[in-house]
Symmetry: C2
Subunit: 124 residues, 2 copies
Amino acid sequence: MTEISKTEFDVLEALWQGHPATAQQIIERLNNDKPWHEKTVKTLLSRMVKKEAISFEKVQRSYVYSPAFARDDYTFKESKSLLARMFSGRLTPLVSHFVKSDELTKDDIDELKQLIDQWEKDNG
Amino acid sequence: MTEISKTEFDVLEALWQGHPATAQQIIERLNNDKPWHEKTVKTLLSRMVKKEAISFEKVQRSYVYSPAFARDDYTFKESKSLLARMFSGRLTPLVSHFVKSDELTKDDIDELKQLIDQWEKDNG
DNA sequence: AATCAATGATTACAACTGTAGTCTACGGAT
DNA sequence: ATCCGTAGACTACAGTTGTAATCATTGATT
């Protein structure tokens, strides 16, 4: 899985929404959020093809693109990378930050409990 | 709090270990891990001064540097930024990744439980 | 006083990023 | 057959990053 920039990630997000997809489709999806210049998006698509973050197939005049890896795999990899760099690879210091800073709701806590239950069922 | 690069973060880490500190001290700390070229470190220090991630004071021939913000504040900000970009700002999807991928130990789970208990004491 | 060594300042330089504009080729419209 | 719009390819260009080398200053040494 290649290194991609934050902007490239945004474009990939649009592609993960559904693929294969044409540049036009991707641009439309992106523009739901904020205006993107067509040329900018196409440049980013080309760059991601080159770095093999996405693939394409020629369909008549144009290309249809597909992601080269799953969103989950990428976000997990990035999460682990951040934990490695900032928290000695541990998850709990990060969670601790959130717990202590009043960033969590009752629902979040309930979800966390469920996750723990699940872990204990699987392991425990 | 400014944007800093991954390499700049490494240098800041060394500074957070103890400050104010001279370039020499910082270089020595960094070299405990892996070799850093003196010039490289000094360039990074200058750049961080310019972007106001660190400050310095002249002490005779040389400078002593200090971080412009606390490590915790920075790592928390970066964590929130990652969650915002990849998980709609939510913590639990990230935790879920880790729970499901067998990345956690019994100790981690116990710590998580404690954090939850703490939250419930503070809020609940 | 002349020279050296260490420090920060300045310069270098390629790769990557963000953001587009220009070029070229081809399928469709006239 | 000709012209045009659209798609991707190529070019542009400044800012950031990683990684250093060179320049200039100054306190220390001979």
